[in-house]
């Protein structure tokens, strides 16, 4: 049997900010969901099922919040699934929702991911107690900094590359009305002069803590035919996981990431990602992850990713724009961050990305990762329906 093609016909985000004190969690998610439905010109009654993701529950202190959110998301009387795959969850959630359409279990599915980080402290929420984590390994930056240092040593990249990524992403964010950080006075010198947090990661090379939600309406071929605006078509999607820590793990370029990308490219018929993919929304919470993931995703040979960044290839007007929206470096409601990558990829191929639109973006990759660089989820969307 063949799978049903999956189309994105509605996208909604909240304006991401440090603290949304004006809304409850329910108010926050409903805002994004309403915008996605409005974009698709659909109502709650058109939705067959809801798939929701966030990570982890401790951030807001609500266990399995989907139970409480059923009313706010119009899910009463419908199936509601709750996905949790650490930082990759926003992407995984979209893929689970897409699976329901692809399997022809449902025709139209609302998928949504959120985080209201202002209700907690992400730094300590991400610091596992000993013995589950080493002493003094505070927050995600403490975990990832040694792997960045390993990349720099392995590739011979000059230590200026990270600041170039942060400077680019923060400038891109100025063109995205939903981005959290709008640093109008940003300069490369300011990034480079910012305090060192976890050597070699500086303050301006890290993601903020955001409140926000992102929603998408996914539908089948018949639903896409009724769409008032151009749909984005899913050409491939995959998840891969590997253990947290073990002797054979390559923390700089995990095999799960390579395998996940290879599966997506196989599904989409991509042979040369560097030439055939027009832009990438990549999960870059710390600036150095751009060159690292460029290699992991097959856009550059090992040790060569930083050269793409340094030569301007990944700029908004470059040959392979990366994080046109400003990325995770500019907006990070953790549970939603992966879905924002997927949604921004879809906006690009629909030609709906506004000021940060890449011209002739026909095939765009959305990428997310989580845990100790161990969970990966990706999709490739296109402006044309898949061949089959």
């Amino acid at each position: 049997m063949s799978k049903e093609p999956v189309a994105v016909v509605g996208i909604g985000q909240t304006k991401h900010v440090a603290a949304r004190r004006d809304v409850s969690i329910a108010g926050l998610v409903r805002e994004a969901a309403r915008r996605a439905l409005d974009d698709a010109e659909l109502t709650w009654a058109d939705v067959d099922a809801v798939v929701i993701g966030k990570a982890p529950d401790f951030f807001e202190g609500v266990m399995m919040p989907e139970l409480y959110l059923a009313d706010a998301l119009g899910a009463v009387g419908k199936p509601m699934l709750r996905v949790h795959t650490a930082g990759s969850v926003g992407g995984s959630t979209a893929l689970v929702a897409a699976g329901l359409v692809a399997a022809r279990v449902h025709g139209t599915v609302l998928t949504l991911a959120f985080e209201k980080q202002s209700e907690s402290n992400a730094m300590w929420g991400l610091s596992l107690p000993i013995p589950f984590q080493q002493p003094l390994l505070a927050g995600a930056g403490g975990f990832f900094a040694p792997h960045v240092r390993a990349y720099m040593r392995r590739s011979g990249a000059p230590d200026t590359v990270g600041s170039l990524v942060a400077y680019k992403d923060r400038r891109n964010a100025l063109k995205n009305p939903y981005a959290h950080l709008h640093e109008h006075d940003i300069t490369l010198e300011k990034v480079q002069a910012s305090p060192m947090l976890w050597d070699p990661i500086r303050y301006s090379e890290t993601c903020p803590s955001s409140d926000g939600a992102c929603a998408m309406v996914l539908t089948d071929r018949a639903g896409a035919a009724r769409s008032p605006r151009p749909p984005a078509w899913m050409h491939g999607g995959a998840m891969r996981s590997e253990p947290t820590l073990f002797a054979g793990k390559d923390a700089v370029s995990p095999r799960a990431g390579k395998d996940c990308a290879a599966d997506v490219y196989r599904q989409a018929g991509i042979v040369d990602p560097r030439r055939e993919i027009d832009a990438v929304e990549m999960y870059v919470p710390f600036s150095w992850y751009e060159p690292m993931w460029l290699e992991n995703l097959g856009f550059a040979d090992e040790g060569e990713g930083w050269k793409l960044t340094e030569s301007g290839v990944t700029e908004l007007d470059g040959d392979l724009p990366v994080d046109m929206s400003g990325g995770v470096l500019s907006t990070n409601p953790i549970g939603a961050s992966g879905m924002i990558r997927f949604a921004e990829a879809a906006l690009q191929v629909r030609g709906q990305a506004g000021e940060h639109q890449v011209e002739r973006a026909r095939r765009v990759l959305g990428h997310a990762y989580g845990g100790g660089s161990q969970f990966f989820s990706m999709w490739l969307v296109g402006s044309e329906p898949p061949d089959s």
């Binding site: 009313d71 419908k78 279990v105």
Partner: protein, 349 residues
């Protein structure tokens, strides 16, 4: 929906009041080994893996990431996780097999209630602004539901006691159960519920293997074919629901095809005796149906695994030739807010 998918193997731990000498991974690993051994499959042979659990039981963010180590996810695997009972992980795996992306799936779930007070922990599921701050615990909410049923004339305390007695007597044949044989009905915990009306608090894990089409016949002499599975959610607020009814269960059963032909067995996830009364009514089960031959959640209720165990127990009866058509049910949320129904069948004999 042309692809036939079956439960081909099931394994579970012995459910116990505490397992403090084991980590979650240590609790889970024997179950994973057992379920794979039953099919002869290895981790690398599995097309898709999906698990269900809750961080709140362990009291630690991302607790499932450590459980993944027990799977042996190397080389990397296609894997996902729901922060729900494992029955919903099975649903995600079932949809994955339907797409044709995989032919086999490993589904597991686990819960350790012993590190904390599960009555307190479950209050954190409630509306965080208006209800959770009052800390109404899970037994108190179930008692509201039981009293509503008694007030409506749907049951009485002796009838509830009979449900509990029947369940624990059935569990005498289940070596994994935590409460078995003759259990005193005890004093009131929260009126009208006595200790006997409430589930034991315990730790446990379960796993199943799913397979599609001919693959299922290769792996199992009598596969338990999933004829349908559906789940529905209701409003969260108890004040806007009729606690004596479960329309979401009825709708899920209808969508899963449960009413097309009678079932001979029903494994119901009813942690409290009164909830069996609600579910029997919603599902239209009469005395011809064998309800909870495993003893059900009144005999063992490892939170996050108890729903998957219902599917596993129903499937195992089909594997053993003790059932031809069985219904399995899982629930989540206060007072049966969210419900899943699966219909399983063996090949005709």
């Amino acid at each position: 929906m042309t692809r036939e998918i079956a439960v081909v193997a099931f394994a579970q731990t012995d459910h116990r009041r505490t397992s403090e000498e084991f980590s979650e991974v240590e609790m889970l690993m024997p179950v994973l080994h057992e379920v794979l051994d039953r099919t002869g499959l290895k981790t690398a042979d599995i097309g898709f893996t999906c698990s269900g659990s809750s961080d709140y039981l362990a009291g630690r963010a991302f607790s499932f990431t450590l459980a993944l180590d027990g799977v042996g996810a190397w080389p990397p695997i296609s894997e996902s996780h729901v922060e729900m009972d494992g029955a919903w992980a099975l649903y995600e795996a079932w949809t994955k097999l339907l797409t044709g992306d995989a032919d086999t799936a490993l589904v597991y779930s686990y819960g350790k209630s012993s590190p904390g007070s599960v009555r307190d922990v479950l209050t954190r599921q409630l509306d965080p602004y208006y209800v959770a701050p009052l800390w109404p615990d899970s037994v108190a909410l179930a008692a509201l539901q039981a009293q509503a049923l008694i007030d409506a004339g749907d049951t009485d305390e002796p009838a509830l006691a009979a449900v509990a007695t029947r369940s624990r007597a059935a569990a005498s044949a289940n070596s994994h159960a935590q409460l078995r044989d003759s259990v005193p009905h005890g004093d009131y915990v929260v009126r009208p519920l006595r200790t006997g009306d409430c589930p034991p608090v315990g730790d446990g894990a379960a796993a199943v293997v799913l397979a599609a089409g001919e693959r299922a016949r290769d792996l199992c002499a009598r596969p338990a074919w999933i004829r349908g599975v559906d789940h529905r959610i209701e409003a969260h607020g108890l004040g806007v629901r009729d606690l004596t009814d479960s329309p979401s269960t009825r709708l899920a059963a209808e969508k899963a095809g449960a009413f097309e032909r009678p079932v001979d067995t029903a494994e119901l996830h009813a942690p409290f005796s009164a909830q069996e009364v609600v579910l029997r009514k919603a599902l239209g089960l009469d005395d011809s149906v064998r309800v909870n031959p495993s003893g059900g959640a009144l005999a063992a209720n490892p939170v996050m695994a108890a729903g998957l165990i219902r599917i596993g127990e129903a499937a195992a009866r089909i594997h053993r030739g003790e059932s031809d058509r069985a219904l399995a049910h899982a629930t989540s949320g206060p007072c049966l807010q969210q419900n899943l129904v699966a219909v399983l069948e063996g090949d005709p004999r």
